[in-house]
């Protein structure tokens, strides 16, 4: 991390795309190697996803399983959105439109917490 020359360079795979289009080009398209890398990462995360229910199989650790699976699914969906759907290279307003359905996730968490709480008092 100490060798990182630019602050937004948290993703090493973005480097070839940036070099291709230059920093000033927001529409600089990613290269084939970017897509192949994302494909491999998605495949790997799918394997991890399949292993999680096997490892956290018991009743007592089911919450760990839920949290891990949700994190994995959201990570995969984010990768598809950012790289395959080019959101990483779009202007903010298009990103805001794309973020609209994420509101459902917030609603889901709120409603489920409320229901779970109601279950404990009724």
């Amino acid at each position: 991390m100490s060798a990182a020359p630019h602050t937004p360079s948290h993703d090493p795979h973005a480097a070839p795309a940036g070099a291709h289009g230059g920093h000033a080009a927001p529409h600089g398209h990613p290269t084939t190697s970017t897509f192949i890398t994302i494909w491999l990462v998605l495949g790997f995360l799918t394997i991890v996803e399949l292993a999680v229910p096997q490892v956290y199989d018991a009743e007592w650790n089911r919450h760990t399983k839920w949290v891990l699976l949700v994190i994995l699914a959201v990570s995969k969906a984010t990768l598809v959105g950012l790289y395959f759907m080019h959101l990483k290279w779009e202007r903010p307003w298009l990103k805001y439109i794309a973020l609209l359905p994420a509101y459902m996730g917030v609603a889901a968490v709120l409603l489920m917490c409320e229901e779970a709480w109601r279950g404990t008092v009724m």
């Binding site: 897509f35 996803e49 229910p53 399983k65 699914a73 995969k76 779009e90 459902m104």
Partner: protein, 218 residues
Amino acid sequence: MDTSHAAPTAHVSTPADDQHFGQATGGKVGMWMFIAQDGMAFGGLLLAYGLMRVWADHWPAAGLKPTNVLGIGLTAVATFVLICSSVSMVMAVQAAQHSRKSATTMWLSLTILGGLSFLGIQAYEYTHLVKEGLTLTNGYVHGHELHPLFGATFFVVTGFHGAHVTAGVIYLTCILFGAMKGKYTQGGLSYSPVELVGLFWHFVDLVWILVFTFIYLL
């Protein structure tokens, strides 16, 4: 009358002039708005499912998890097929952007093949589950009486997604015919329709990632 300021009116506006959306064409902004509302339709279904899970004492039955009833291995293959078809889709868009007609046609065909494979696996899965006794209104599988809404939830959510894959395959086929005529490989923004079908296809893939986790694995 100050005519010196009238000059910009003669300028034809292009997508690149848009301060808010940059290079995004009207079609792209429209497709994203459609995807956002379609995403909320899926969100509504998944939200209802989530609440049902919270209400249910056991899902789908005491001592049974969804992973025991549904075929995870086969569905994992279907998931990977869909991810691969997303990769072939980005390759098709890239080929169209570089005006490579035969490459565009080949990658679009592979994407359609991926979609059809996914639908084939889903048809096989549905047939298998119905034969085992899981239907929209009834679920008596492996000697267990399942939660009455397990079948309904499963078939409605995966069926709604399957309908999207079917629509995507039809949409992709229409674009493939255009690509074979070279309509999208003439340079400039002519590749745009390939990019739009790509956005829809990746959205279908993205939703499946969530459906696979929430319906099958959780």
